[in-house]
């Protein structure tokens, strides 16, 4: 069943009786060629690209809850390619290109909106740092425009430019940055994978691994054992717990990141605005809600709900940047479990157990990575080699001392 404007018109005229479920609900088979643990954005895109790019269709995604119920359905949906370090740059650049073709490829409206992302700066030193970052982005083949104060004022007239602590000096505009509808990305990949024959098994928690002679042979689940010669752990904030079942310790600590949304308002914020110095960023959803957030709560947590001090901190930062938002009423807040690594960069790699792969450590930036992460993990599983744009996302890079510390904040999990 393909989606199109024509189809919507026809269904509208015939009582919308022709729509069906977007994917099947199959029973798990006894054995597959490969298993993906975790039905978030990364697991679903991995399954899709394994089937589409590598012809592997005897595969299944095992999800302990429902598809898209984890971080992929809880994030603030910023999609960007404004990284600085080689290793991160080429990966997020590749991901943004995949975003730009994804909706046509999946025949699914993910509401990807390249409305432009503006990172504000507040001092001469910060301007230099952003000029350097912008040049790195341009060298990578992406887009960046350095705006002065008046340039920012034209786009964001509602900011408090003369804030005493952080006066606005300018901003780095990334025109191709923007947002997308988070659930739709999960649903689009799920439907795409299902249509290529992938089994999406929900309510199926992986509780253990069967490992023989250093090789994985399958998993134990709440719906019985399932055999496969290849298994990928793609469970974001739960990575540490899952890997422990295979006898591994990961360089990951789980932390809560909160987000907030206001009541629906008329269009007022046209871009994604990031106020790094205040730990605050904001965009407006297509429904009109102001979607905003800040930093992680700072201490390890699996609570999936946040703490009040960080909530207060985020609200204060928002009020100092754009006093007008004090008039909006906050409707909801929530938290997701972030898989934080000691350098803030992710891992897409093999593990010491043969046939067992790990895709984790997405910190608070894994939504934009959904397409490229699946693309690269599928490549690794199908060919045995790292994809060139993900070649530095190694599990052993901490031991080897080749960290990818994008923010330069040091080897402590909560500082990224």
């Amino acid at each position: 069943m393909a989606f199109s404007g024509w189809r919507i018109l026809r269904e509208g005229l015939t009582g919308n009786k022709g729509w069906g479920p977007l994917w099947r609900t199959p029973e798990p088979r006894k054995a597959y060629d490969a298993l993906i643990i975790g039905g978030g954005g990364h697991g679903l895109s991995t399954a899709y690209y394994l089937a589409k790019n590598h012809g592997m269709t005897r595969i299944a995604v095992l999800e302990r809850g429902y598809l898209g119920g984890g971080n992929v359905g809880r994030n603030t949906t910023i999609v960007r390619a404004n990284y600085f370090l080689p290793g991160n740059q080429e990966f997020y650049s590749h991901s943004l290109k995949l975003w730009e073709g994804m909706e046509a490829d999946l025949n699914f409206n993910a509401m990807h909106s390249q409305r432009g992302l503006i990172n504000l700066f507040h001092s001469d030193g910060q301007r230099d740092a952003f000029a350097r970052r912008g040049n790195a982005m341009i060298n990578q083949g992406d887009d960046a425009i350095l705006l002065d104060r008046e340039g920012v004022r034209e786009l964001l007239p509602y900011l408090d430019f003369d804030n005493h602590r952080f006066p606005v000096y300018g901003g780095l505009l990334h025109p191709r940055g923007g947002t997308a509808r988070h659930d739709a990305v999960a649903w689009g990949y799920a439907r795409g994978a299902d249509r290529l024959g992938v089994d999406l098994i929900q309510n199926c928690e992986v509780t253990g691994f069967t490992i023989a002679g250093g090789k994985v042979t399958g998993v134990e689940t709440t719906r019985g054992p399932i055999a496969a010669p290849m298994v990928a752990m793609v469970v974001a904030g739960r990575s540490g717990q899952l890997a422990a079942k295979a006898g591994m310790r990961l360089p990951i600590e789980s932390h809560v990141l909160q987000a907030f949304v206001t009541e629906g308002l008329k269009p007022v914020i046209d871009h994604v605005v990031s106020f790094g110095m205040g730990h605050f960023y904001i965009s407006q959803s297509d429904k009109g809600g102001l979607v905003f957030g800040g930093d992680i709560d700072f201490y390890s947590s699996y609570a999936q709900r946040g703490n009040l001090p960080m909530m207060e901190h985020v609200m204060e930062a928002g009020m100092s940047l754009m006093p007008m938002i004090g008039k909006a009423k906050v409707l909801r807040s929530w938290g997701g479990i972030m898989d934080m690594t000691p350098d803030g960069s992710p891992i897409i790699d093999k593990t010491p157990v043969e046939g067992l792969f790990v895709d984790a450590g997405w910190n608070y930036g894994g939504f934009k990575a959904v397409p490229a992460s699946g693309w690269c993990l599928a490549h690794l599983m199908a060919t045995g080699d790292s994809h060139p744009v993900a070649a530095r996302f190694r599990l052993d890079r901490f031991r080897e001392g080749v960290l990818l510390d994008e923010e330069g904040t040091g080897a402590q999990h909560n500082l990224h």
Binding site: Y302, R399, N414
Partner: protein, 90 residues
């Protein structure tokens, strides 16, 4: 969340700075330790969902380093001891 500082009593979480899992501090490897052991201490984490012990610095209080026992799922704080007394249970 409040943390019971053994020196100052129950204090607001905002007075403390989080320093990471206590497992790293409680068993520091010596300078002769092989790279794998140092890697393990610096980077790898047990990362429990449930009871955990971590190090907090009473930044705007007495300045002590504490080992706090708490629950990562419920936000409950069970107790705290001075880091210099590590090894004794919190």
């Amino acid at each position: 969340m409040r943390i019971p500082c053994p020196l100052c009593g129950d204090r607001d979480r905002r007075e403390f700075y989080y320093m990471g899992a206590a497992e790293a501090l409680t068993a520091p490897p010596g300078p002769e330790a092989p790279p794998e052991v140092i890697d393990d201490q610096l980077h790898l984490r047990t990362n429990p969902a449930g009871e955990t012990r971590d190090v907090w610095y009473h930044e705007t209080g007495c300045g002590a380093w504490l080992i706090v026992t708490r629950d990562t799922v419920t936000h409950a704080v069970h107790g705290a001891v001075l880091a210099e007394r590590r090894g004794t249970t919190a």
